[in-house]
């Protein structure tokens, strides 16, 4: 979807992609601009179509246009949304071509993940929205989420604790171990075995899991933010998601072997042997032999 040719394949591109392309092409000649114009028009048409579709989709948001039909929390959320998010996501979260996608149908889980981890409101256009200090309180985040939920439905984080259901210590340990196996098979390819994260192509990356809290981990699996795949409930059951969360906690908790050097594996180990071990020993040689 990142083809360099602005003219071709436009019909198959979602609005955000098409418009990102426009940003890159403004400096180019008039013909290009005309072509881009076409792309934009198609994009806008698509966005409109998306909106219209969303309007008729099941669990539909037709009512959303009417503030009176929103729950009190949803109304609070709409107020917050209108002041903070419409610049990119458009009124009624229909999306703005080139700035932000439509949020109709992304669900409360996605909003809560994006806003509570500080990714939204996004500060600037970049390869990947980054975790920042959250702008909104927990309650405001929930209101925003509620608003988007009422607009178009979508996945929600289940209420209640994310902890494993109780059991004997043996059962708990077995659940964590299952979570570990699931983690290594489903998540480690991007987030690395130790959860320290890893690079993806073109400046994108899977982040360190250290700062994520339980609900964010759950929401990340449920909604698949940006380049992360969605792990819907038929891929990983809620039970398995909880096991994975429990395992991620053990990753954060313990370092039986001493300081983990950022948990980056052989790269930092190699640096350590030169910067610490070798350097210390070369100073020792200077000390015991002297520079004759």
């Amino acid at each position: 979807m990142t083809s360099d040719n602005p003219g071709r394949g436009a019909a198959a591109t979602p609005p955000a992609g098409a418009a990102r392309r426009r940003a890159g092409a403004t400096a180019a000649g008039g013909r290009l601009r005309r072509r881009v114009g076409t792309v934009l028009r198609i994009a806008a048409a698509l966005a409109l179509a998306g909106g219209v579709y969303a309007g008729f989709a099941p669990g539909s948001a037709t009512a959303a246009k009417d503030p009176a039909s929103l729950s009190p929390a949803g109304q609070e959320g709409k107020a917050l949304f209108d002041t903070n998010c419409t610049s990119c996501h458009g009124p009624d979260a229909q999306g703005v071509a080139g700035k932000g996608p439509s949020l109709v149908g992304v669900g409360a889980a996605s909003v809560e993940f994006q806003v509570s981890s500080g990714r939204m409101p996004m500060a600037r256009q970049e390869a990947q929205a980054l975790r920042k200090r959250p702008v909104f309180t927990y309650d405001q985040t929930r209101q925003l989420a509620q608003y988007v939920q009422e607009l178009g439905g979508g996945p929600q984080i289940p209420e209640g604790s994310m902890k494993l259901p109780g059991g004997t210590p043996e059962e708990q340990a077995a659940a964590v171990a299952r979570g570990g196996t699931l983690f290594r098979i489903n998540c480690a390819s991007c987030h690395a075995n130790a959860g320290g994260g890893g690079a993806l192509s073109s400046g994108k990356f899977a982040p360190d899991l250290e700062p994520a809290n339980d609900r964010q981990i759950y929401a990340a699996m449920l909604t698949g933010p940006q380049n992360m795949p969605v792990f819907g409930d038929n891929q990983l059951t809620p039970e398995q998601k909880r096991e994975i969360i429990a395992y991620v906690h053990t990753l954060k908790a313990q370092e039986p072997g001493g300081w983990g050097l950022g948990k980056l594996g052989p790269v930092t180990e190699g640096m350590a042997i030169f910067l610490l071990g070798m350097t210390a020993l070369i100073f020792t040689t200077l000390w015991i032999a002297g520079k004759s």
């Binding site: 290594r184 690079a199 400046g203 948990k263 790269v267 070369i282 015991i288 032999a289 004759s292």
Partner: protein, 531 residues
């Protein structure tokens, strides 16, 4: 009856030594050994780090063998590391977890063993740099250079087999890659891979028990033999030394083996051991419990080999996907960066002493070292090789680097590809110019004297810096000192103007100012042997 003689404690060592000598006749050879002279310079101790970390490797390794079982049979983990309870794994992985969590002192032994392995390879490489850049590999020591390169290669194999043994996620990934590399060799590839792994990998082959025997018996045996020959040759051919007052191509100036040299070496061993123990105790290395048992489907991000293998990983990452098909065979792109490239690199390294001698038509025997600046061409070539190796190694770790420094991984790969072509020539050029510059400065000081930092204003208003000539100057204020390729004093307190402000590492040593010209600091001793 005579009274039994009282034991004279003072005479005891003498009588004991005498008794030993009468039976073993060791006094004469031992005296020669004890009196053997070793030159003293910090850079001559780098090889010792490798030797001492090898000893630590043997000691900790023996401990690990007591508990490790290289079996690939399947078990269910039931040890004390809870997050893996009930997971199916091989016995090899289970016993490694057992060492880490249930054997007293097992984890620190494992970590010391691994840190010592990294240190072993690191010190071999640093030691090689010293040998290379000072020309210590020249005749008569070419053979020892070749042995040194071989030690690196065998050490590499030791490290790789060791890394493969625990059968965790990382080691399995490593073995998988090794398997693919073998398969990429034309004609004999699949045969080699099949016979080494005895079947497909991953699969119920025999690779772990084989790697184990190689790791604990064959490779240490070869290393031990090579190290003995290496040191034996140093002993026989005598150590090289820096040029300097009183030092010639036919003598050795330094300290006697006994007692000072031996004491220093003993102390140094203790320090190397201490550094390894500290690292083993404080810094996690290879936390296999996080990697889980090896499963072909689970490959973690940031899967890297240990640093000395990383250059191969890097060359593979940089290699464009060019596949060659000819004569009904496919030559996968993997073949070039992982078989051909290291082959060429190691062959060139081994052949270098002979290449250089041939180029310079040099058949003389060299026991004096050269300062890197005095042989700009070699230094520049070395810098070029180091740069090449560094670009490859950094590219081998490019995904964690990209992630942590917020660089695009694609940009890193392209930077590596371009860097591999342009950084080495730049390193060559820069090193060459730096060498010439340093030489030039030496010559200036020899001709004009040391810069004193004192600025004098002449009657005509001109400012000049006062120089302290190193010998009586002629009418023009120039000194006719020969360029000898050895340290030229460049600071006033090196020529005795000021007593050194603080000397000594831990507490100041008060000493009278040194004599006006640098002289051999220690007693000059002729080596007991004759040349």
């Amino acid at each position: 009856m005579k009274k039994r003689a009282r034991i004279d404690v003072k005479a005891l060592p003498g009588t004991a030594a005498n008794a030993a000598d009468e039976r073993l006749q060791v006094a004469r050879p031992l005296r020669a050994v004890f009196n053997k002279v070793f030159p003293d310079h910090w850079s001559f101790l780098l090889g010792e780090i490798a030797l001492f970390s090898f000893i630590v490797l043997l000691l900790t390794g023996v401990f690990l063998t007591l508990y490790f079982d290289p079996s690939m049979s399947h078990v269910t983990y039931n040890g004390s590391y809870l997050p893996l309870r009930g997971v199916h794994m091989t016995r090899a992985y289970e016993t490694t977890l057992h060492i880490s969590f249930d054997v007293r002192g097992g984890l620190i032994m494992r970590q010391m063993h691994h840190w010592a392995a990294l240190l072993f390879m690191a010190s071999i490489v640093i030691h090689m740099f010293r040998i290379f850049f000072t020309g210590a590999f020249r005749k008569p020591r070419e053979l020892n250079w070749v042995i040194g390169v071989t030690l690196f290669i065998v050490g590499f194999l030791a490290g790789f087999t060791g890394y493969s043994l625990p059968d965790d996620g990382l080691s399995g990934t490593g073995l998988r890659i090794a398997h693919a590399i073998m398969l990429s060799i034309p004609v004999i590839g699949s045969w080699t891979a099949n016979s080494l792994f005895s079947g497909e990998f991953p699969g119920p082959g025999a690779i772990l028990p084989r790697a184990y025997i190689a790791h604990v018996l064959l490779i240490p045996g070869i290393l031990l033999a090579l190290i003995s020959v290496h040191l034996g040759l140093v002993f026989k051919q005598k150590h090289t030394q820096w040029p300097g007052p009183g030092r010639t191509n036919t003598n050795v100036v330094g300290e006697r083996m006994f007692p000072r040299y031996v004491i220093k070496q003993g102390g140094f061993f203790a320090i190397v051991f201490g550094v390894i123990a500290l690292m083993g105790g404080l810094l996690t290395i290879n936390p296999i419990w996080l990697f889980g048992p090896y499963e072909a489907a689970a490959v973690s991000a940031a899967s890297q080999p240990d640093w000395y293998v990383m250059f191969l990983d890097g060359s593979t990452r940089l290699m464009p996907p060019w596949e060659i098909r000819a004569f009904g065979h496919t030559l996968p792109p993997l073949f070039w960066p992982t078989v051909v490239l290291p082959g060429v690199m190691f062959t060139l390294a081994m052949a270098y002493p002979f290449i250089e001698a041939r180029r310079n038509r040099d058949t003389a025997i060299h026991n004096l070292l050269q300062r890197p600046r005095d042989v700009p061409e070699r230094t520049a070539l070395g810098a070029m090789a180091v740069a090449f190796y560094l670009v490859l190694t950094i590219s081998g770790g490019n995904d964690p680097l990209a992630e942590n420094f917020d660089i695009s991984l694609n940009a890193m790969t392209w930077a590596g590809r371009i860097g591999l072509l342009i950084v080495p020539p730049i390193a060559y050029w820069a090193a060459y110019r730096i060498c010439l510059g340093l030489q030039q400065h030496d010559r200036e000081v020899l001709a004009h004297g040391v810069e004193t930092g004192i600025i004098r204003r002449l009657p005509n208003g001109q400012f000049v810096e006062v120089h302290q000539p190193l010998a009586a100057p002629d009418a023009h204020g120039h000194t006719e000192l020969e360029y000898t390729g050895w340290v030229v004093p460049k600071k006033m307190n090196r020529v005795g103007a000021l007593a050194p402000a603080i000397k000594g590492f831990f507490y100041p040593v008060e000493e009278p100012a040194p004599p006006a010209l640098p002289q051999a600091e220690r007693r000059e001793l002729e080596s007991s042997g004759t040349r």
